[in-house]
Symmetry: C2
Subunit: 212 residues, 2 copies
């Protein structure tokens, strides 16, 4: 994620509460990601972002111009963070392709556990509340899912090549099925405050594609 | 749905804009269901419910006491409506069990199309925003999913009995898998303003359980 952020310019260095110089823009993005993964966009106010990041209002508008522009930057930042996560697991050839998918799932479980299942997927949250969002978000969010699906289809193609799944399975369709269902699993994990829905969805998915 | 509502007492009859006598409590519930399926609970204000139902504030508090109590009634009303829908399709023995599941999916697609994919599943929306909701909603929402899963497990058991799916499949687990994924599909249908995610999820699910 830091790569994406540094591409957008350093902002003004500022001393944080821990005594380190931190970047104002980066602090706002960090607070925004926390709020949007927890509560979504509509219910998040700029004021609470400013409080969480300890940044004055003027600074926010200097960096982002509007809440909508801020939201777009957050979608991009979240996607960059997530694509890095997918690369880390999906390209690790010390494991078989389906083991890599499982490793991603285990990592995501730990991520949700870390925040006591209060935070879910930013892209899923915003998809859910799409009717109340600026319409420009729709294309951005769809593009994000397409990228994740493309990566996953490639992984399933590798699984077919090494014989973990049947070569007759439509890997693109299965990748789309995975991400459609995964967002439901994240939603349910938040509701149940438990990793069980993530496990059940992933295990069942892997078992079904192995035996079809 | 009307059955559930009438169980809770008729309220004061009142002439609606279409000249018919309607029930104030029922009008508030109808407006609440529309708002919560579209935007969820947190972002819905009592004022817009009052405006949509053309009801004064005092009436609202007469019937519901608080927004939280109103939310609980809406979860119950939505579940009653949904269980009726499930019964209608899942118990129709003019079709095979998997055909009944497909018929439910087709009905749900029409329901989403009718509101241009702006409205999703009330229970899914509230699950998504659980971190911002009154904690009492958590148990209610989980109970709703359990009821839907129980019904679906029974349907899949019938599918196993007539040989549509393997008797080795764990029907309870598959029913839970279905509802976890289905909520993801509804979310994605809202995002894409299209029934395609519902179709892809349902077709793939049915095909996977048939071939496992």
């Amino acid at each position: 994620m830091s790569n994406t952020l540094s591409k957008r310019g350093p902002g003004r260095p500022r001393k944080g509460s821990d005594g380190n110089f931190i970047n104002t823009r980066q602090a706002l993005i960090k607070a925004g990601l926390a709020a949007l993964t927890e509560k979504g966009y509509s219910y998040t106010g700029i004021e609470e972002i400013l409080r969480a990041a300890n940044v004055p209002k003027g600074s926010f508008y200097h960096y982002f111009g509007s809440k909508e522009a801020f939201g777009e930057v957050l979608i991009e930042a979240y996607n960059a963070y997530f694509m890095k996560k997918l690369s880390r697991w999906f390209l690790d050839d010390s494991m078989s392709p389906l083991q890599r998918l499982q490793a991603f799932v285990d990592d995501a479980k730990q991520g949700m556990q870390k925040f006591a299942f209060r935070r879910g997927c930013l892209v899923g949250n915003l998809g859910q509340e799409m009717a109340a969002l600026p319409d420009g978000f729709r294309v951005l969010l769809q593009e994000v899912f397409l990228e994740w699906e493309k990566r996953t289809a490639r992984l399933l193609q590798e699984a077919a090549t090494v014989g973990e799944i049947s070569p007759n399975l439509n890997t693109q369709k299965m990748a789309r099925f995975f991400w459609i269902g995964w967002e439901g699993a994240v939603l349910r994990a938040k509701l149940e405050e438990s990793a069980a829905p993530l496990d059940l969805f992933a295990h069942t998915f892997i078992s079904l594609v192995q035996h079809s």
